[in-house]
Symmetry: C2
């Protein structure tokens, strides 16, 4: 198992527009992409700080995962994504060690990455994503 | 303003011992320090992944900030800490721009860093810390 760095942090916000303004005008980061991910019922905005991206998530549907998260917990950090080398082997190993997986095999995520989620009931409340860049 | 990277993520857990076991034995990270911060009413455990540390936080008092956080929101990401160059100037600039500060001037944090917190009511639900390494 080799987690190399934190690939991104997913942050649930009520309004992408006002949150983008905060990250740009107050924190001085630059939004380099805005993307709608219909399957996840979110609009996303990306920033980079060091090795890590910040992915703001605005729900497009109150019944979507981010809409439900905000209703339950309010705005805040929704998930942590670690970059990993060898995603399928890592998932197999983690499952053997007793972790509940949301995705048993990688699927396509934003920016062409292969991704998979672990279930927060196995990860001490932190919804955890593992990502692999297939071009590396 | 220059945020260089994510210095650490603070993660609130009920039991440091069981959470350390997960981060070490499942995710393969190495706990390199355990420290009690009496002032914050927490015990902490540190891991490193790429540029970023993971700081697990177990409350030593239900009335402490992490105890209250877990009671309200459950286990999960408690705060994001950005590394910054020029902390006092950054705080002054951010305050001018209308952000509510918890710390108007830097104070000493773990590992000898100078730190300050922004109020989550100004930061879209993410309790945000800024850190400066005084030896750099």
């Amino acid at each position: 198992m080799n987690l190399t760095h934190i690939e991104h942090l997913g942050i649930a916000v009520k309004s992408l527009e006002t949150a983008i303004s905060y990250y740009e005008n107050i924190l001085g980061l630059t939004c380099y992409a805005v993307e709608e991910v219909a399957e996840q019922k979110v609009k996303t905005a990306f920033f980079k700080v060091g090795q890590t991206k910040i992915e703001l998530l605005e729900s497009t549907d109150p019944e979507g995962p981010v809409g439900k998260f905000i209703e339950k917990k309010g705005e805040g950090v929704h998930h942590i994504a670690f970059a990993v080398e060898g995603l399928q082997e890592t998932l197999d190993l983690i499952a053997e060690r007793g972790v509940t997986l949301i995705d048993k095999s990688p699927r396509k995520g934003a920016e062409g990455l292969n991704i998979a989620f672990l279930h927060p009931k196995s990860t001490f409340g932190v919804l955890t994503e593992l990502c692999e860049n297939p071009t590396k």
